[in-house]
């Protein structure tokens, strides 16, 4: 299987979200995803990075988002987003329910996460701790998004 891995690091800022989603879209295009899938992948990455900026780095300046893309020719794209912001558990956000969009819902919560889950075939969130050689431990969040060809 032909596998190619590419990565990009962006500042965790709203004006960088299109850079992240455009970077992944270009790789997905080369893998041969349909126009509809490309739109979905681009939007899922955009929303995932937006959540990192707004939640994980809500109280932190100078955060970064590391984006790793594994392009598995003829099979799938695996997108991994890593940040070192606050632990963010998507399950703590009230779930968006498309059947219950009423005028009371001017502050819609969970919409970005709902879109990510609907657009991708597999979504996995992990809050991790790593140890380095100096004996220091660091915490990071890892979000994995998978779309099958």
């Amino acid at each position: 299987m032909d596998v190619r891995e590419t990565s990009l690091t962006i500042p965790a800022q709203i004006d960088q979200l299109n850079v992240a989603s455009g970077f992944v879209r270009k790789i997905a295009e080369e893998l041969g995803f349909s126009a509809s899938d490309l739109h979905q992948i681009e939007l899922a990455v955009y929303e995932a990075c937006a959540n990192i900026v707004q939640h994980a780095y809500a109280h932190q300046l100078n955060g970064q988002i590391h984006i790793m893309v594994r392009a598995e020719q003829g099979r799938r794209i695996v997108i991994t987003l890593i940040d070192t912001g606050a632990a963010f558990d998507p399950r703590t956000i009230p779930a968006y329910d498309p059947q219950r969009v009423t005028e009371a819902d001017t502050q819609v919560s969970g919409l970005g996460l709902f879109l990510i889950q609907r657009m991708m075939d597999d979504v996995c969130f992990e809050s991790c701790v790593s140890d380095n050689r100096a004996g220091q431990s660091g915490r990071f969040n890892r979000l994995t998004l998978i779309k099958n060809l």
Binding site: L17, V101, L115
Partner: protein, 124 residues
């Protein structure tokens, strides 16, 4: 990739209907433009606001939120927001999030305009 959005506003039917033609990408960087345009339309007293999304290529959750807030604010003032001319990718997302059940959506600008004129006539 950069975000860009343009909105053209056209007043119709003796100031009772406004057509907002939205082109480009509606995301966190550009959404304030639509927010402002919707607010202006509501403050100007239009009974029907038709949003032509024919040239909209991308919409994120922040764009969806502004459409919903615009629709809800309009309803409070007794006016209506209609959508028309959606590209397939945008239509797919609106259907996914349930907006197709709460917005009047028309296939073409002409159909939306006809419905808007009928609605504004009824309300006069």
């Amino acid at each position: 990739m950069t975000s860009s959005l343009s909105i053209t506003s056209q007043s119709l039917a003796d100031q009772s209907v406004v057509m907002l033609s939205v082109a480009g990408r509606l995301d966190a960087n550009t959404v304030s433009q639509l927010e402002r345009a919707l607010m202006d339309a509501q403050l100007s007293g239009y009974r029907v606001i038709v949003i032509d999304l024919g040239e909209l290529t991308y919409i994120s959750s922040s764009g969806l939120r502004v459409l919903l807030a615009g629709r809800n604010n309009a309803r409070k003032r007794g006016s209506t927001v209609m959508l028309c001319n959606l590209q397939p990718a945008v239509q797919e997302i609106l259907e996914m999030v349930g907006f197709s059940a709460i917005f009047p959506i028309f296939a073409s600008r002409e159909q939306a305009l006809a419905a808007a004129l009928t609605l504004s006539d009824h309300e006069h």
